[in-house]
């Protein structure tokens, strides 16, 4: 693939690393028209472009499902691994050791994460794997044609399934209990928020769980369904207005004193959280649990950055790796010297 041409006087827009937005494109989507997953793919493209991330510095991961197909619809210049149903977290965990400077973006579905993949979801969180973990949450299995997933609300009525009577799994709550260092919820119908959250997540060192309500227009989009566009539009309550300020950039927005909160991330970037209706401190686990519980009771779709701990060491840091990417080490780094063999034999009886 050729480098973008920067012709004199041309109006081609490039970001700070000289790439056009098209450099972040993927293959044409094969998902249904109007599927929430497509809109999230577009925001991933926009976020990486705006955050000046080199596509070669990203590795994409996914499980299995309509959602998990979507990594081929963005960032064609990034490596990707479309793995097994429910097992994306383990693959990402191992792969990210290959080169510790890479950004991991994982895309999963609600079925992929909360049904078959609940175990790996919990463990990737407790290890604080440096991964932007997006759950494109539509309350159903899209790819297998409309069965209930574990995030479906009680009372949801689906065409071939009947009425769901089981309690739904709440992804941010599960993430919080597992000890996630970054938890957000958003809505595919609120692209601006999705994009800002993605940029913040990409700057976070550690696991960033993004539960994004992403309507399945084919199997679960009736107005009264909690994962539909209509319900989301009517019930979305953002806890704050959120914007991401890249590392070395000045804060240009003008907020009155006390109106906003600022969180500084590992790489020096900042998240600005403008107060809306209520006071909210996303660094408190207790507050996080409280707002999630309240939003359940008020039947609203609470969105925004629910919890963040920017300082927790991530999995790779915990392992104290050499500076050189592990996958560029060679025999002299990896095979113990010949004179060690006597020492080892002497350690045997």
């Amino acid at each position: 693939m050729a480098e973008p041409l920067q012709m004199a006087g041309s109006k081609i827009k490039v970001n700070r690393i000289g790439l056009q937005k098209t450099d972040y494109r993927g293959n044409l989507t094969t998902l249904c028209q109007g599927c929430g997953h497509n809109s999230i793919s577009n925001q991933i493209i926009a976020a990486c472009y705006e955050a000046n991330i080199l596509p070669e510095d990203v590795v994409k991961f996914s499980g299995i499902g309509c959602s998990s197909k979507s990594p081929s619809y963005f960032l064609s210049r990034s490596f990707g691994f479309n793995s097994l149903h429910g097992r994306m977290p383990s693959v990402a965990t191992g792969a990210l050791f290959g080169n510790k400077y890479l950004h991991g973006i994982g895309v999963s579905g609600d079925g992929d994460t909360t049904n078959i993949g609940m175990g790996q979801f919990k463990h990737v969180i407790r290890r604080n794997v440096p991964l932007v973990y997006i759950i494109e949450n539509n309350g159903v299995y899209g790819l297998t044609k409309g069965q209930f997933s574990a995030t479906a609300e009680v009372g949801l009525n689906l065409k071939y399934q009947g009425v769901n009577s089981y309690m739904p799994i709440d992804i941010p709550k599960e993430a919080l209990i597992a000890g996630a260092s970054f938890i957000a919820r958003s809505f595919a119908g609120d692209p601006k928020q999705v994009k800002e959250l993605l940029k913040a997540a990409l700057s976070h060192r550690g696991i960033a769980i993004l539960d994004i309500i992403s309507p399945c227009v084919t199997f679960n989009n009736s107005d009264e369904a909690y994962h539909s566009y209509a319900w989301g539009r009517e019930h979305e309550v953002a806890i704050h207005d959120l914007s991401y300020v890249p590392p070395s950039e000045e804060i240009t927005v003008d907020y009155a004193e006390g109106e906003f909160k600022e969180v500084t991330l590992h790489d020096g970037s900042k998240i600005l959280l403008k107060k809306l209706e209520r006071e909210y401190d996303p660094t408190s686990r207790v507050d996080a649990m409280r707002v999630l519980e309240e939003s359940d009771n008020s039947e609203s779709l609470l969105t925004g950055l629910i919890y963040i701990d920017p300082d927790r060491p991530d999995l790779i840091e915990q392992h104290n790796l050499v500076d050189e990417p592990l996958n560029r080490l060679n025999e002299s780094d990896l095979r113990p010297a010949a004179d060690t063999i006597d020492m080892i034999n002497n350690l045997m009886f």
Partner: protein, 598 residues
């Protein structure tokens, strides 16, 4: 006393699991080893932490035949629960030692019986802390046995020194009890059985180790960079060996690590992590046992079809299901060979001794990376967890083979024109890139779904077939990497014995017995990997009868040979048996004698 029997008998020690007898048993084993006598030790233990009966069998044999035997000339019983069984197990004319705390009747008069004054000796040991009394009490049988059969006390001290890593206090504590027991035996034990040991020099230059430790160290010499694992007997100690030796062997001045080991949440995650790391260009592995391997099935198929290098050690135990979790078996062969749904055929290495565990430890990575494929190594509990005499480990005699990996400058030369699954060299092996490569054409999207030569998704039938056929081509290419079978010939041999893995010593002994006791000469072939090397069909063809010995019920190696060489079916006879115990020469001998009608 009848004529002395020197350096040719088996000792079995029955104890209660969790009573700390391992230290005592290892001390006996190691001191015999240091006396230069060929020796083996096998732990026959229950799946239990404390309380159930457990046995340890030691065999000394001056001719180097140290496979397990069913017969026990000397039995030591420290466990009232196994008393009657232990008593019944002594060969007529053999010796029976039992702790004085057992108040049961001796119901045999065809053996020599000795009481071990455990209580009396321990009562005198005022300086042994109370909580250690039971552990140290095992040293009484070490001392009495040493005096009775003639184990060198200096070597016992050496063994204790090794066990306690030179820590003087526990060494002295234990050694004192041994000395007291020796003294007691000198004064009170009248030797009436014929069994003795005498120093030899047969073990010069040899070491003692277990297969899992050897495999772990071998893997480190293979440059392992990532290990994902989940605890399971008998696979655990392989992973734990890697954890123990990595910091020693891959120490750097800056204190930083060139590797990561992660204990996963289950085997799905363990292999998932390893495959992720393999995709990322790391030398990645996992170690497990049957139940864990079952969980790895779907991932094994993915790695096979998406062509991700990864090394999987399966230290086999008895299945199906939880089976006999602490007993040995060769029952995972066909499962491993075909693991993954659809058209899969996996590459397998079959180490037969500790040295091969070491060698296959490093070699497996070369094969996996060269062929961009999972490589399975099938060891077993006997090989993996018991102590074996071995030659010193040998430094790898070949440089690392990282396979066909394209980096930035390679892609530059190709003008970025490459495809992940193109068969450029017509050997079935494509080129690959790994994440972190900065060339804008380096990336590809790995998937288990149908893909074409460029890694693009397709459900085209012809492409599917073409891709699968290419992978098969690669599989046949693996023959070049699979260690050749070990073939031992005897002039005038009519029959062939085919085996794999840890039955090596039993086969060797049985061949000797066949020749000396029944005048049947035999050749043997120990298969060391799948796909089968070229010598395998040649060997089969050159004998009218080939007995295929293996530790499972249905003859899995036999089935695979039959499938590969249907035209040689007439030459193959299946001898499959598994009761969870390491194979004996007697089994092989009897099986052949019946068929050869003698």
């Amino acid at each position: 006393m009848s004529e002395k029997i020197v350096n040719d008998f088996s000792i079995t020690i029955g104890t209660v699991n969790g009573s700390g007898s391992q230290t005592a048993n290892n001390t006996i084993l190691r001191s015999l080893f240091k006396m230069g006598i060929p020796v083996s030790g096998k732990n026959i233990f229950p799946s239990n932490i404390q309380g159930l009966s457990t046995w340890y069998t030691i065999r000394v044999n001056k001719d180097g035949f140290t496979a397990r035997r069913d017969a026990h000339e000397i039995v030591i019983c420290m466990n009232s629960n196994s008393f009657s069984q232990d008593l019944a197990n002594v060969l007529p004319g053999g010796a029976f030692f039992y702790t004085d705390s057992i108040k049961l009747d001796i119901t045999r008069d065809d053996i020599e019986v000795y009481r071990l004054p455990v209580k009396d000796i321990m009562r005198e040991q005022k300086d042994v802390p109370k909580q250690l009394k039971d552990l140290v009490a095992n040293m009484v049988y070490v001392g009495v046995l040493a005096q009775s059969i003639g184990i060198d006390l200096e070597q016992i001290r050496t063994a204790l020194d090794y066990h306690f890593k030179g820590k003087q206090k526990p060494i002295d504590l234990n050694f004192k009890v041994i000395e007291k027991s020796v003294e007691w035996a000198k004064g009170n034990l009248e030797k009436t059985d014929p069994y003795f040991v005498k120093p030899m020099n047969k073990n010069d230059g040899l070491i003692m180790t277990d297969g899992n430790t050897a495999a772990a160290i071998g893997s480190i010499y293979g440059g392992v960079q990532f290990m994902g694992w989940y605890p399971i007997t008998p696979g655990s100690s392989l992973a734990e060996g890697i954890i123990e030796y990595l910091p020693i062997l891959r120490k750097r001045e800056d204190g930083k690590h060139t590797y990561a080991v992660i204990q996963a949440e289950d085997e799905l995650a363990a292999i998932g992590m390893a495959i992720g790391a393999g995709f990322s260009g790391l030398r990645a592995m996992t170690a497990t046992s049957g139940p864990g391997l079952s969980l790895m099935t779907e991932f094994a198929g993915l790695a096979y079809y998406a062509e991700v290098p990864v090394v999987i050690w399966d230290v086999q135990r008895v299945g199906p299901s939880t089976g006999l979790p602490t007993r040995t078996s060769q029952g995972d062969l066909t499962f491993t060979h075909y693991i993954g749904h659809g058209d899969t055929e996996q590459i397998i290495l079959l180490p037969g001794n500790a040295n091969e565990c070491f060698e296959f430890g490093w070699r497996a990575f070369d094969i996996a990376e060269n062929l961009q494929s999972p490589v399975f190594v099938l060891s077993d509990l006997d090989l993996g967890m018991n102590q074996w005499m071995a030659k010193p480990f040998e430094y790898p005699n070949e440089p690392m083979d990282r396979g066909k990996v394209l980096w930035e400058e390679d892609l530059e030369k190709l003008n970025g024109d490459w495809g992940r699954y193109r068969d450029v060299d017509n050997d079935g092996i494509p080129y690959r890139t790994v994440p972190g490569n900065k060339h804008p054409a380096s990336a590809y999207f790995l998937r288990g779904t149908g893909h074409d030569e460029n890694g693009n998704l397709t459900e085209d039938s012809a492409t599917w077939t073409r891709m699968l056929d290419r992978i098969k081509k690669k599989y046949y290419k693996a023959v070049e990497f699979i260690p050749a079978p070990i073939i031992e010939k005897k002039k005038g041999a009519k029959i062939g014995i085919i085996a794999m893995g840890s039955t090596e010593l039993a086969v060797r002994e049985a061949r000797h017995q066949l020749e000396t006791e029944a005048n049947i000469k035999s050749d043997s072939m120990r298969i060391r990997g799948i796909p089968f090397a070229e010598d395998v069909p040649k060997f089969i063809e050159s004998h009218e009868q080939n007995y295929v010995f293996e530790m499972n019920r249905d003859g899995q190696l036999y089935q695979l040979l039959l499938g590969e060489y249907p035209h040689l079916a007439d030459h193959l006879i299946s001898e499959a048996f598994n009761d969870g115990l390491p194979a004996t020469a007697q089994w092989i001998l009897d099986s052949i004698l019946i068929k050869e009608k003698i």
